[in-house]
Amino acid sequence: MSGLLELTVAEAAGRIAAGEIAAGEYFDAWRAAAAGDELNAYLWRAEDGVEGTGGPLAGIPVAVKDIFCTEGVPTTAGSRILAGYAPPYTSTAVRRLGEAGARVLGKTNMDEFAMGSSSENSAFGPVLNPWDRGRVPGGSSGGSAAAVGGGLAPCAIGTDTGGSIRQPASLCGIVGLKPTYGAISRYGMIAFASSLDQCGALTRDVTDAALLLAALQGRDPCDSTSVGIEGGVEAPSREDLKGLRFAVPGELARDAIDSGVRAVFEATLETIERLGGAITEAPLPHAEHGISAYYVIAPAEASSNLARYDGVRYGMRAEGAGDLTEMYEKTRAEGFGAEVKRRIMLGTYVLSSGYYDAYYGRAQRVRTKIASDFAAAFAEFDFVVTPTSPSVAFGLGEKTDDPLAMYMSDFFTVPMSLAGLPAISIPAGLAEPDGGGPRLPVGFQIVAPAFAEQRLLEAAFALEREIGFDAKPGEGAGG
């Protein structure tokens, strides 16, 4: 039975298609594994097995971030205000996975409304890092990353607004893919920041990420901003990086990065060169302002997106309110956590009349400049590469009292979100945290032009093969 859990999704799907494994048997093996969740990765787990499924992902269990609506299945976005809410409909992403034969293994824990970089902002308790339970798994898709990294799911989907797939993937030693904005429908994905949110995959390897993306991507009439990926997505097969040009943004690489992370990053650049790729330092002059712009735009959109949680139609309604205004106030005061309230306040402020231009307008101009920086870089280079996160997994509670320090975890991932570009984080090695301790996974980020997912996956596949990362939580934790 345990042999089944060693298979990648692509291998398992192949064997199920060949009739060597029964879909139900494979799914049940993973249900048993998920039942052993000690990381608080899951908020809900499938109660039934599967039967009668077909398609490229027949019987494949997928851990689904609890931000995707699933009809009749609790969906909370990690928030008390949606406790007990079971949506009347299913998100397009989950529906498409289902059409490919996959089934929901469970709903994974997350930072409330995807606001956070540590998964500590969940109303249902923090998620623990499978490599070191005293550390965070990253966020906001921390439950999905911990489930895949900790052997509780073969693959997962999450959402990435400013790094919420890539950063936890990096911290949990797995692959995290954020596709181009518009590649996958956002319909049924609970909105945090609509112009940035994008669904993506958290998997053991690049091939599995391609497999999920192939099923997920596509234009959806329910999402006007979705376009899909022209030509679809195929399993990558490239073995070298000959003739490919990789840009390292000097501005980003010079900034505060843990020494262990820097060492792995530089070793990975050498690996790229060994495979025939060329490394050049290139300017992305506005990328370093990404965090500032992001923390205006995302809260602004969030303040509007989260206004619907008012206690009138669904979810929590506070008791004992005397009138309408009091009902709104009490419900939202009791239903939202501190970080969500902070961002709603921030977002409301920056959109207020008299401040709009100084904050929101300006942030949008920075966003445009960052996008043009990338466009200029891609005129010369095939990819931009950075570390995914400036540090390895940090300790639980380490940054909860310092929101700005927490926000900086997304320093390397936010600019790509602002530019809507596809980016992937692959595990590149292990490093000691600054200040010492057992070695932990380090992610390497590759960024491609919009809708160049296939090229991105091919390069990541070749690099992944050469790096040969095969550490597992138990071993890594031992040093």
């Binding site: 609506c69 009439p221 006007s224 901003t225 619907r308 139609r313 929101y360």
Partner: protein, 479 residues
């Protein structure tokens, strides 16, 4: 004190009569059970996205083109944020700085802008006040929520309450003729707010304006504006100032109640709706909108006068009512050999009078008189197959029971006496029976002929042609 001049602008909301709502697939309805036309989208469940209704965009473009506006190449949807239970997302999707169309005109009144938005749900406040304050409970009916609305804003070009209401009627006729809305004020598919101010006659500056709401008929629109103009003139006359505020019109006492003053005005925190791409009508869409324009009242009046030879009054009367115009044109087309002017006289004269007599509310279109039947009747009268008097009798029968005029003429024995020998004999008898009248006619008193004509008509039950009877009497008396 200088003479004060009224300055009035109108803001008109037109509910489009599309099959479905603006951003979801729910059907539009009026008067159905509450909350049966709802779905996750129009109830603002977590994760839903708006999908614009193409039919609504087509209708809005037709309105914009009919009002001679310039259509924006890329107009933008914005979110207008406010908390209220009739607004489930807590924002209304509307248009703000770049509306669908700008700068048109209807008649002599300039159109400031035309934009697309969605309607709010309907609130029902339980209790005596009928308002949210002081009511025991409030119920929300989401059937109306999300209905497509077009907002039309005029420049402040109207100079009296009567002109405003007359212009609003012309706008209604124009929109009704496009077939894009029921434009019914009582049912709320046409809603009219007025911005009212006064200034010294001849001044170019605008005075402080107030906004009048809740005038749900043209009569109330006129009365409301009149009342507000009187109030403002009185204030200024007494040396006081007009305060900018929103006033609620109560038709029962023709009173105006202040809703909220500018000090507590909402900050709607408008920002571009990230869930929608800009609305960029293609050349094809604009071409279709222009091509689908029916003849509008002004052009129709012109054609009736120039091409069909109608007198100005009849032309205006028929053109103002699209249904009457269609009826008239069908009748005129069917009345072979009869001038349209004559048919118009029958439609606006005899038929209108007969319908009034019958007491029905319906116009010609809703009556039992088919336009082809009226045409047949007019032809019979013109060809002197029946007398004008008999024509009225037949028309009364048509109004009461419908059917074919020929059959009624036959049944009632109204066919004109065409055998001149028969009529001559009746005339001879009548002359002999009225010797006094005959003597007076011979003596030169022409008016005395009436008595003998009357006798002939009684004898023939009106089946004789009056002119012919006159001629025969004079022949017989040798005058």
């Amino acid at each position: 004190m200088a003479e004060l001049e009224a300055v009035i602008g109108l803001e008109i909301h037109v509910q489009l009569s599309t099959r479905t709502k603006m951003f979801c697939g729910c059907e539009l309805s009026f008067g159905d059970q509450p909350n049966v036309h709802t779905c996750p989208v129009c109830l603002a469940h977590p994760g839903v996205l708006p999908a614009p209704n193409e039919e609504a965009i087509r209708y809005a473009l037709q309105i914009a083109v009919a009002l001679e506006c310039e259509v924006a190449p890329r107009s933008i949807f914005h979110r207008k944020n406010y908390f209220y239970p009739d607004n489930p997302k807590a924002y209304q999707i509307s248009q703000y700085d770049i509306p669908l169309a700008t700068g048109g005109r209807l008649d002599d009144i300039r159109i400031h802008r035309v934009h697309l938005e969605e309607d709010a749900a309907k609130m029902i406040h339980v209790g005596e006040s009928g308002r949210i304050h002081g009511s025991g409970a409030s119920l929300v009916d989401f059937n109306r929520g999300g209905t497509p609305l077009v907002e039309i804003v005029t420049e402040p070009d109207l100079r009296s309450a009567a002109e405003a209401s007359e212009w609003a009627r012309l706008l209604r006729t124009t929109v009704r003729q496009l077939g894009v809305s029921d434009v019914n004020m009582e049912e709320g598919s046409l809603r009219c707010d007025a911005n009212v101010s006064v200034r010294p006659a001849g001044s170019e500056e605008l005075g402080v304006k107030t906004e009048l709401k809740n005038m749900n008929s043209f009569r109330f629109l006129e009365r409301g504006i009149e009342a507000e103009l009187a109030r403002q003139q009185e204030l200024i006359g007494a040396g006081a100032a007009v305060v900018q505020e929103t006033l609620h019109f109560d038709p029962r006492g023709v009173t105006l109640t202040s809703l909220r003053s500018k000090e507590e005005a909402h900050d709607y925190r408008y920002f571009p709706e990230p869930d929608l791409v800009p609305l960029a009508p293609t050349e094809q869409m604009l071409h279709e909108a222009r091509g689908s324009l029916p003849e509008l009242p002004a052009a129709r009046i012109e054609r009736y006068r120039e091409e069909m030879g109608l007198p100005p009054e009849a032309a205006a009367q028929l053109a103002a009512d699209p249904e009457a115009a269609v009826y008239f044109e069908r009748a005129a087309g069917a009345a072979a050999g009869v001038e349209p002017r004559v048919v118009a006289n029958w439609v606006t004269g005899e038929l209108a009078a007969a319908l009034r007599q019958e007491g029905g509310e319906a116009g010609a279109t809703g009556s039992k008189v088919e336009p082809e039947a009226l045409a047949a009747l007019v032809v019979m009268v013109q060809e002197k197959r029946i007398s004008h008097g008999s024509g009225k009798t037949v028309l009364a029968a048509l109004v009461a029971e419908g059917g074919e005029p020929g059959a009624i003429v036959e049944r009632e024995g109204l066919a004109q006496i065409s055998d001149s020998g028969e009529l001559e004999a009746i005339v001879a008898t009548a002359v002999d029976a009225n010797p006094e009248a005959a003597a007076q006619i011979r003596a030169g008193n022409g008016r005395a002929i009436g008595a003998i004509v009357g006798a002939v008509m009684r004898e023939t039950k009106g089946r004789a042609d009056g002119a012919e009877v006159n001629r025969l009497i004079r022949d017989r008396l040798g005058v």
